[in-house]
Symmetry: C2
Subunit: 197 residues, 2 copies
């Protein structure tokens, strides 16, 4: 019945592209409308204003991230799985900086959709940690730690927080190794898959 022009998916992809290239501040209804050859108010037929756009993008980004992470972790376990997870996480943040940023900037982080998309990520991590030998609260604390490590590194890298001319990949590998070694120590057990090289 309607005039079928736009489509929510196309709209979100275009918005994500703007966020990735112009930064999150550069994503406005005006720039998005221009990119889509449409007048600004037309966007209101698809999203609930700028906050609504950002909310949908957050979920969209979380889903994309989850897909990449699942892909990386599947078929692996122990340190191996966590390293693959970590590398995929950083790779996503690097390749889609704006979209990654959005995943942590939902207008309302307690909105059901955002919470659920985030939960899927945590669930994936819980499975990894369980297979790793960590259960219940131990697993949850470890998950918070890993997320801190990964988000902290990705965020600082993106924001230019690392000024010095020092190999970033090496810094990241060392950080992840340190975290894994620390988890092993805390757990007071032998590494599941043989530990560090």
């Amino acid at each position: 019945m309607p005039r079928i022009g736009l489509d929510l998916t196309i709209l979100l992809q275009a918005a994500a592209e703007i966020a990735d290239t112009q930064g999150i501040e550069g994503l406005s209804l005006a720039t998005l409308a221009k990119k889509l050859n449409v007048r600004t108010p037309s966007l209101y037929n698809h999203v609930d204003g700028l906050p609504g756009l950002r909310a949908k993008l957050s979920v969209y980004g979380l889903e994309q991230l989850h897909a990449k992470l699942t892909d990386a972790a599947v078929g692996r376990s122990g340190d191996d799985a966590i390293r693959a997870f970590g590398e995929a996480y950083i790779a996503f943040a690097r390749s889609r900086p704006g979209l990654y940023d959005l995943t942590l900037r939902a207008p309302d982080p307690h909105a059901p959709e955002v919470v659920q998309a985030g939960k899927k990520l945590v669930d994936l991590l819980v499975r990894l940690m369980n297979g790793y030998g960590l259960e219940n609260d131990d697993a949850l604390h470890a998950i918070r730690g890993l997320r801190s490590v990964l988000h902290g590194f990705a965020s600082l890298e993106q924001k230019g927080g690392f000024g010095l001319p020092l190999d970033l990949d090496k810094s990241f590998r060392l950080l992840l190794d340190a975290f894994l070694a620390g988890i092993h120590t805390i757990r007071s057990k032998a590494p599941v898959d043989g530990g560090q090289p």
Copy 2:
């Protein structure tokens, strides 16, 4: 000679207060002017527009953070120093969320003032790491790791990334312990070029 009304320090304190309470998005020239009982254009006599305000606030925040961290670390060494540093870091991020956010959101992270304020922080950490037994690149990688851990935790906590009802302080202690244990392991292993596959 001039009409002495405002003062850059007062202005920055007011701006930081807005950022801390309303969030960084709530800090506009309009809200700041209202808080100071002044018309918006008057602010241009003190800062170079909104970007200029943010730039000055970034430096201001970095200085405040540096002061707290120095205070916490002085007189300590080893793990003790790093734990105190980490706790002070998190405490600052919690007590001044907006200002902390600003420290990593300079309009131009490569501006000399921002770079220098950041460098003071790194210098402090270099001293800690040296006293800890880590030198040169090893120290720099460890510093990047520690900053990632601290910023990641602070950022996720602030953005509501930790949804579950689990003791945050315990999560943080465990994370820091894991990182420190990991650093110990790495340090005792391959100091010079500890290459991964």
